[in-house]
Amino acid sequence: MTRHGITGAVIRPLHGILLAFPIALFTFALFTDIAYLNTAEIQWTNFSAWLITGALVFGGVAGVFSIVDLVLSLRREGSRRAILHVFALALAWVLGLINAFKHSQDAWSSVGAFGLILSILCTILVMVAGWTAYADREIVR
C-alpha cells in the first residue's frame, strides 16, 4: 500500500473515530451542565466531569493525529484549514482542561457561570475542529 493508501485506509478513519469522542463528549457535557444548573441534582455535574475527562483523553490523541497531519500537509493546498482545525482543537483542549479543574470544585462551584461558559466554548470550538477536519476532504486528496 502506498503512503496515501495507508493514510486513507487506516489513519484517516481512526482519526475520524477519535475526533468523534470530543465532539460528542464536550457537547454532552454542555447538556449535563445545563441540566445541573436547572436541577441542582449532583449526578449531572458528576456526568459532566467524566464527559470532559473523556473528551480530553480522546481529544488529546486526536490532536496528536491532527498535528502530524498538519506537519505532513503544510506544503500542500488547504493547509490553512488544517491550521484552523489544529488551533480550534488545541484551544478546545486547553479550555476543556481548565473546565475539568472547574468541575473538580465542589457542589455548585463545579459548574456555575464560568463552567457553563467554558462548556459552551469547548462545544463551539470542537464543532469548528470537526467541521474543518472534514470539509472538502475529497478535494485535498
Binding site: Q43, A49, T53, V94, D106, A107, W108
Partner: protein, 431 residues
C-alpha cells in the same frame, strides 16, 4: 502549539493555586476569629507533608515535661480510653467505603495517601498496662480484634462500649481483664452508608446514663448530594439501657472527638470544618454541643457565613445557625479532645482541654500537626491556645500526626495517639 498552550495553562493553573497565600496577621483562634473572604481556586491547594522518621528524636514538650514513646508498632492508633484501673485502651484502624464519584476523587485520593501511613489498620483494640507508671507498659495485649474501624470508646459498670464505623457495640468487660472472648451486642446501628467521614467519636455523659456519638458528614460540602446526608453531621445522644437515640445537634460537619467538661458535666466536641474555600477558611472549632443547636453545615460556616457552593440555599437555616464557641485555626484537623481533671498538671495546665491536631492538606502553609492546650475557667475557654506537644513537622516533612489525646488524672500523664508514627506518646511532668 499544543505544548506551548499546555505550558501556558499549567503555569496559569499553578498561579491560580498559589495565588492565595495565608495572611499571617489574621488571628484564627478563639471566640472571634478573623475570617478572610472566600477564595476558591481552580486547583485546590494540596500540600502533603511527606512522612519521614524521627531518627531517635522525639516531639517537643514544654519545659518541665518529658515525652517518651509509650507504645510503638501499633496499627493506626486513633482514640484512647483510660480505664478505672489505669489500663489504657487504644482503638486502631481505618474506615470509610465511599467510592470515587468524579475523576477528582481518584486523583485526590492518590495524593492524600502520600501523607498517611502505609500500614494497614488493625481493626482492633490494644490494651496497655503501666501499673507502676514508669512509662514502660509491663503488659501489652490485643484486647479484642476483628472490629469494623473502632474509634470512640467508653466504659461504665461492666460494659465496654465501642463505636465502630457502622454500629455502637457493647462488650461485657471488667477492668483488669486482658482479653475479650465474648461476642459484642449491638446497642444501635450508626449511619454507615458511604462513610466519607467514617469516624464515630464517643463520650459517656457525666451521669453515666447516656452515650454521645459524633457522626461526620458524607461529603466536604454536599458534593455527593444532600440525600446521603440524612443523619450525618450530627451528634446523637443514645440511652445506654434502651439504645434509643435522639439527635441533639445538627450541621456539625465532622465532630471527631467528644469529651465531658469536668466542672460542668457538659459535652464538648472538636469539629473539622469544610475545605476548598481558601487557606484560612473555614476554622475548625471547639464547641459545647448545645442541645438543639444547628452549627451551619452545609449552608454556612462559623455561624452565619454563607457557603455559596450549596444549592438550593437555605437562608432560613443560615439564620438559625449557632456560632461555635472557640476557633482552633483553619484546616488544623482537630481529631483529639480530652479535659484535664483533678488539677491536671497544675500551674498553667490545671484546668482546660488538650486538643490533638492531625494537620492540614488544603493550604500551602501547613497548620496543625501538634497538640495544643486551651485553658478553661468556670467551664469555658479562657485565653488563646498554647502549643503543648510540637515537633511533628520538621523541614516540611511529617514525622508524626497526632490523633486522640487522653489525660490520666491518677498518673498525671497525657497520652497522644499518633497514626503516622503508629505510636502512643506519653507526656509526664519531669520528676
Amino acid at each position: 502549539m499544543i505544548r506551548h498552550m499546555l505550558a501556558a495553562s499549567a503555569l496559569a493553573l499553578t498561579v491560580a493555586a498559589c495565588g492565595n497565600a495565608s495572611d499571617p496577621k489574621l488571628n484564627q483562634t478563639g471566640a472571634n476569629p478573623d475570617l478572610p473572604r472566600i477564595n476558591e481556586t481552580l486547583v485546590p491547594a494540596m500540600k502533603i507533608s511527606p512522612p519521614t522518621g524521627w531518627n531517635g528524636e522525639t516531639p517537643t514538650v514544654p519545659q518541665g515535661f518529658t515525652v517518651t514513646a509509650f507504645a510503638t508498632d501499633l496499627k493506626i492508633p486513633r482514640q484512647m480510653l483510660v480505664l478505672p484501673n489505669g489500663d489504657v485502651l487504644v482503638a486502631e484502624g481505618r474506615g470509610g467505603n465511599a467510592p470515587p464519584m468524579r475523576p477528582k476523587d481518584v486523583i485526590a485520593g492518590v495524593i492524600k495517601k502520600q501523607g498517611n501511613t502505609k500500614i494497614k489498620g488493625g481493626n482492633r483494640i490494644t490494651l496497655l498496662r503501666d501499673a507502676d507508671n514508669d512509662g514502660v507498659p509491663e503488659l501489652r495485649t490485643v484486647l479484642v480484634e476483628n472490629l469494623d474501624a473502632p474509634y470512640g470508646m467508653a466504659y461504665i459498670d461492666g460494659s465496654l462500649y465501642v463505636a465502630e464505623q457502622g454500629a455502637l457495640v457493647r462488650f461485657a468487660f471488667q477492668p483488669g481483664q486482658t482479653g475479650i472472648a465474648t461476642s459484642p451486642e449491638t446497642v444501635t446501628a450508626l449511619p454507615s452508608r458511604l462513610n466519607h467521614h467514617w469516624t464515630k467519636s464517643m463520650a459517656l455523659s457525666a451521669d453515666g446514663t447516656k452515650l454521645y456519638v459524633g457522626i461526620g458528614s458524607n461529603s466536604n460540602i454536599g458534593e455527593r448530594g444532600l440525600a446521603v446526608e440524612e443523619e450525618r453531621a450530627v451528634v446523637w445522644e443514645i440511652d445506654r439501657a434502651t439504645g434509643a437515640r435522639r439527635t441533639i445537634a445538627t450541621g456539625i460537619r465532622n465532630p471527631t472527638a467528644l469529651a465531658i467538661e469536668p466542672t460542668t458535666g457538659l459535652v464538648w466536641s472538636v469539629v473539622n470544618e469544610r475545605d476548598e474555600l481558601g487557606p484560612q477558611l473555614a476554622p475548625d472549632y471547639l464547641t459545647q454541643v448545645r442541645d438543639g443547636a444547628f452549627y451551619g453545615w452545609p449552608y454556612s460556616y462559623w455561624g452565619q457565613n454563607v457557603d455559596p457552593r450549596v444549592m438550593p440555599q437555605k437562608p432560613e437555616m443560615v439564620a438559625s445557625a449557632t456560632r461555635p464557641d472557640y476557633a482552633l485555626g483553619s484546616h488544623v484537623a482537630a481529631l483529639g479532645l480530652d479535659f484535664a481533671r483533678d488539677g491536671g498538671f497544675g500551674g498553667a495546665f490545671s484546668s482546660g482541654a488538650f486538643i490533638g491536631m492531625h494537620g492540614s492538606w488544603n493550604r500551602q502553609d501547613p497548620s496543625g500537626y501538634k497538640v495544643v492546650w486551651t485553658p478553661f475557667t468556670s467551664g469555658r475557654p479562657a485565653g488563646p491556645p498554647i502549643d503543648f506537644v510540637t515537633g511533628f513537622l520538621k523541614d516540611g516533612k511529617a514525622r508524626g500526626r497526632p490523633v486522640g489525646v487522653a489525660f490520666d488524672p491518677a498518673k498525671r500523664v497525657l497520652l497522644v495517639a499518633d497514626d503516622l508514627t503508629n505510636a502512643v506518646w506519653r507526656i509526664a511532668p519531669a520528676s
